[in-house]
């Protein structure tokens, strides 16, 4: 239920009609989403998004225990926002490519840590053979049958199809046969072609990105969707991005979660011109996406990019997922992220409980593995609500 103070603020800001649609469960237009972005009333916007979040999930806040595998940073694409990619794997350019054995070992060595998911994202390597990608999945699957393998962004999958002369369906089927279980949401950036031409004009287009996910959903895979915000895009372009995702979700229902990602400016080509988006921009982006993406179950704050403090604050602005313990993240840290390389489960619980929420460990398909709402949880959170 929306509080009297929230009603009062929303009416003062002229957001009464939008509020009425949200409360009635009606879909917001793109113009209304832009109006919410521009409202400059953070607690009122948060209250509305929080209303939707609690209607869907109550106080449950999801996380998983995962490890990242970035097998190579060698990439033929030249995205201007990227600090991770290197043109080759010579020592001087800090490029690296793991051997198949190294990549598989990187994951299997984490067996004792109780993780449930590996998240695989790479550069678009010019020389690695198709077998490398398939065998990475197959060998992890064989050695660790219960591990969830979330691998290869739509950009990589599109690249595989072109490079190896296969259809998208063939690429996906072979990976599914090897053991792939979901695909991550990366590479979406901003769909608008004006923006893509300027920041990433040599990788999959918006239509190609969406087509990969459409195909994956048709083959029974679930997937995630991201948006890289805070560089050259306009607010209308952010909303357009979300609108295209919402349309595909209407068609397939295959997206599980929407993940806004803050652009990090260090060590890349456009960082000097565009400072990192502020936390305020992040919080309103979470809130608007929660309100606009009415057919997405989850909105995730990626604490690696955001920092623990803002990630915790986001739990009052529509976010219900804080990603995971994330062992060995490389991509954001090469872009200047100063967050720790991993959070312990206890730290995640503390962050969630002190926000007055209930931690729920999930698997990669958002099945709840365990709800941490015991008496210890209550005393740890104290009167922090």
């Amino acid at each position: 239920m929306l509080s009297p103070l929230a009603h009062r603020a929303l009416e003062r800001d002229g957001l009464g009609p939008i509020r009425d649609k949200v409360l009635a469960g009606e879909r917001l237009s793109e113009a209304e989403a832009v109006a919410l972005f521009e409202a400059r009333d953070l607690p009122a916007l948060g209250a509305l998004a929080n209303h939707v979040r609690e209607r869907r999930h109550g106080d449950l806040t999801f996380y998983n225990r995962n490890v990242h595998l970035n097998p190579t940073n060698v990439c033929v694409a030249t995205c201007k926002f990227c600090s991770f990619a290197r043109p080759d794997d010579k020592h001087a350019s800090e490029g690296y490519t793991m051997s198949l054995d190294q990549a598989v070992h990187h994951v299997l060595s984490k067996r004792e840590l109780g993780i449930t998911e590996v998240h695989i994202v790479s550069g678009l390597h010019p020389d690695l053979p198709w077998d490398y990608y398939v065998e990475t999945v197959r060998r992890i699957r064989q050695a660790w049958p219960e591990l969830h393998i979330k691998g290869y962004t739509a950009v990589e999958l599109h690249f595989f199809a072109e490079k190896f002369g296969k259809t998208l369906e063939q690429v996906l089927r072979e990976l599914i046969d090897a053991g792939l279980t979901t695909i991550p949401g990366g590479g979406a950036e901003i769909f608008a072609s004006r923006v893509r031409r300027k920041i990433c004009d040599d990788k999959a287009t918006a239509e190609q990105w969406l087509e990969v996910h459409r195909t994956a959903h048709r083959l029974g895979l679930k997937s995630n969707a991201t948006m890289l915000y805070g560089h050259i895009e306009t607010l209308a372009e952010r909303v357009d991005h979300m609108a295209r995702l919402r349309a595909l979700q209407d068609e397939t229902g295959g997206f599980q979660v929407f993940i806004p990602l803050a652009f990090h400016p260090e060590h890349n080509m456009i960082g000097k011109a565009f400072p990192k988006p502020t936390g305020y921009d992040g919080l309103r982006t979470y809130a608007v996406s929660r309100l606009f993406l009415d057919n997405f179950d989850h909105v995730k704050a990626y604490w690696i990019s955001l920092g623990e403090r803002l990630a915790q604050a986001s739990l009052s602005f529509g976010v219900d997922d804080v990603d995971g313990t994330v062992l060995e993240e490389r991509i954001y840290h090469m872009a200047g992220a100063t967050t720790p390389q991993a959070l312990s489960e206890a730290q995640l619980h503390r962050m969630i409980r002190f926000a007055g929420r209930v931690p729920a460990e999930r698997d990669s398909l958002y099945n709840v593995l365990r709800v941490h709402d015991g008496p210890a949880a209550v005393s740890a959170a104290g009167g922090a609500r």
Partner: protein
């Protein structure tokens, strides 16, 4: 019934006991250090200044915050002889203290020496310490020991471990200490530490010797705080003693000093309290406490935002360009939450000289700065004249600089060490150039909390007394709250209500700022010190402090994003562009922003940035 406590006759114990002479709660009986443990065991006394070496194997409760220790030479625990220690075949151990016996054996072993140890009274041992024999001498007998070779064991320990040595602590039989007793011991110490000059003079009259030497001993050699560094030293000592088989392994237990006296609370409706707060009606303590405990973040934020809009309807967020200058990190209060302070003899201890100050001020001016926030530790040797000279020099050399200096704690300390009344101290500081006072050192203005985390700091009343006196002299000040140190909602509310009362009286607070405890490199475990808690307490403060005009966002501890959110939940000021900050960064938090970045955050959050001075008057142009 009063508790019985033996007070040892040693000079170094007197500052901890002198203030207890007429205590309504504690009866003192004089005794030798070594008999304290046996008296406590026999039940003859309830608590005692116990040698640390007597702690292992017992379940005594240690009084937090107080100790007798040294961080370097101690003078009164020495090994003496006519030949170097390498030549000693036998060492006579003074029977007066278990701690020093263990320490002597540890330090000799560390040099690879294992002479025969024989227990013997000190004077006899000393007279026989010739040739291949040495003697341990402790306590006042060690002043001026006349031997060719004298090893100061405080110095030796410090060289070995880089840690302070703790010789004795207040310890009690389990369960006998009421929180009021702990409070009384701390009060006694505060009184006694303020009397060190007189105690030295009195001791010189009793035993002969140079009173100035004794004063230096009490103020410079011996340390009375039991803070993180001292605890580390104490634990290192006990663990080395156990490793060497000289004592059982020890588990330290501290007396819990939390008083559970709560006021009788009315049942309060959170919704009603929120409405009242949002409408600008005054909240009482029960309403504030109900909001602190139960109101959701966004509800507090919406109500606080209404108050901010009423008080600052123009949508401007101000900030100042100033520099934190910490003139010294030497401090005697050893607060458990502090990562900044160093004992005087520590390798990293410093006092800034004029050249360093000049450079910092000139850099500040070059960056458009108009203010110096000058704060430091409680240095035992810096008297009022030092500050007067410094202030006169700053104001005559850099007349444009606003001197925002000395938290109430420091002013209280200067008045005490200079033995001047508070009013006179403030008058002289103002005459020398003091412009305004920062609100630091408030921590949580509730003595239950202060006793636990900062027992040697001034009390709530003392902090407020300094502020009242300063406001009456026309000075303006800020006020702070640092929370997440294990306090409860009622403590935070007490803090806000006490500030509001004083503000009703004087109107001298220009702004309030809260932040959460940053625990790295400190010994205190945080309670909820999260960003969520910060935003809630910030919003609650806007509602309760209805008479304080400005609320600062703490981006230094919380980061720019959370600070932006706080602008929508009560805050109207972005604090200072920090050219330098040492205290919070010592505790692991290092957010940095220049003026351009501060303005970008303010604009991005939907506000217009404007530069201000300490009185919140607009100055100059924005960056």
């Amino acid at each position: 019934m009063k508790l019985r406590a033996p007070a040892v006759t040693f000079l170094n114990a007197r500052p901890l006991t002198a203030g207890l002479v007429d205590s309504p709660r504690i009866d003192l009986v004089l005794a030798e250090p070594s008999t304290c443990a046996s008296m406590l065991e026999a039940g003859d006394v309830d608590l005692a200044l116990l040698p640390v070496g007597a702690l292992p194997g017992r379940d005594w409760e240690i009084v937090p915050g107080l100790a007798i220790g040294a961080d370097g030479p101690v003078e009164t625990v020495v090994l003496a002889g006519e030949e170097p220690p390498e030549a000693w075949e036998e060492v006579f151990l003074d029977t007066a203290s278990r701690t020093s016996q263990i320490l002597a054996q540890l330090l000799l072993r560390e040099r690879g020496l294992t002479p025969r140890f024989t227990h013997m009274p000190a004077l006899e041992g000393l007279s026989r310490a010739v040739g291949p024999r040495g003697a341990l001498v402790i306590g006042d007998r060690a002043f001026g020991v006349k031997k060719k070779v004298v090893l100061d064991l405080g110095r030796e320990w410090n060289r070995l471990t880089r840690l302070p040595m703790v010789f004795a602590v207040w310890a009690a039989r389990p369960g006998v200490l009421a929180p009021e007793d702990v409070q009384e011991l701390v009060r006694g110490a505060q009184v006694g530490l303020g009397m060190r000059t007189e105690l030295a003079q009195q001791y010189a009259r009793e035993t002969g010797g140079d009173p100035e030497h004794y004063r230096r001993y009490l103020t410079q050699r011996i340390r009375y705080g039991l803070g993180p560094h001292e605890l580390e030293g104490m634990e290192a000592f006990l663990s080395r003693a156990a490793d060497a088989g000289l004592a059982p392994r020890a588990t330290l237990r501290f007396a819990d000093d939390v008083v559970r006296s709560r006021r009788i609370r009315r049942l309060v409706s959170v919704d009603t309290a929120l409405q009242k707060g949002a409408d600008g009606e005054r909240l009482d303590a029960d309403e504030a406490e109900a909001l602190d405990e139960k109101a959701p973040l966004l509800e507090l934020g919406l109500a606080a935002d209404l108050r901010r809009r009423a008080l600052h309807p123009e949508g401007v967020v101000t900030y100042i360009v100033s520099r934190n200058v910490n003139y010294t990190n030497v401090c005697t209060t050893a607060c458990s939450f502090c990562a900044f302070y160093r004992p005087r003899s520590h390798g990293e201890a410093y006092v800034l000289d004029r050249g360093q100050m000049a450079r910092k001020i000139e850099e500040t001016l070059a960056l458009g700065g108009i203010e110096i926030l000058l704060q430091g530790g409680l240095h035992p040797d810096l008297h009022l004249e030092w500050y007067e000279d410094l202030f006169r020099w700053v104001k005559s050399t850099y007349p444009a600089i606003n001197l925002h200096a000395l938290s109430p704690e420091e002013i209280w300390h200067i008045a005490r060490t200079s033995q001047l009344p508070l009013d006179a101290t403030i008058e002289r500081l103002v005459a020398a150039g003091l412009d305004s006072i920062p609100g630091g050192g408030a921590e949580v203005l509730d003595d239950e909390v202060r006793r636990r985390i900062a027992p040697l700091k001034c009390s709530t009343d003392e902090w407020l007394t300094v502020m009242r006196a300063a406001h009456r002299k026309g000075l303006r000040s800020t006020a702070t709250l640092m929370f997440g140190v294990g306090e409860e909602a009622r403590h935070r509310v007490n803090h806000l209500v006490r500030l509001r009362e004083l503000q009703d009286e004087t109107g001298g607070f220009t702004a309030f700022i809260c932040w959460t405890f940053q625990p790295e490199n400190t010994r205190l475990d945080p309670s909820d010190n999260s960003a969520h808690a910060y935003l809630r307490v910030n919003a609650l403060s806007r509602l309760v402090l209805d008479n304080v005009p400005n609320l600062q966002a703490s981006w230094v501890t919380m980061g720019g994003g959370v600070a932006q959110a706080s602008l929508h939940m009560g805050a109207n000021d972005f604090g200072s562009v920090m050219i330098e900050e040492n205290v919070v960064s010592a505790a692991g938090t290092t957010f940095q922003m220049d003026a351009e970045e501060v303005e970008r955050h303010i604009r991005d959050a939907g506000f217009e940035p404007a530069r201000r001075n300490m009185r919140y008057e607009r100055v100059g142009s924005a960056a």
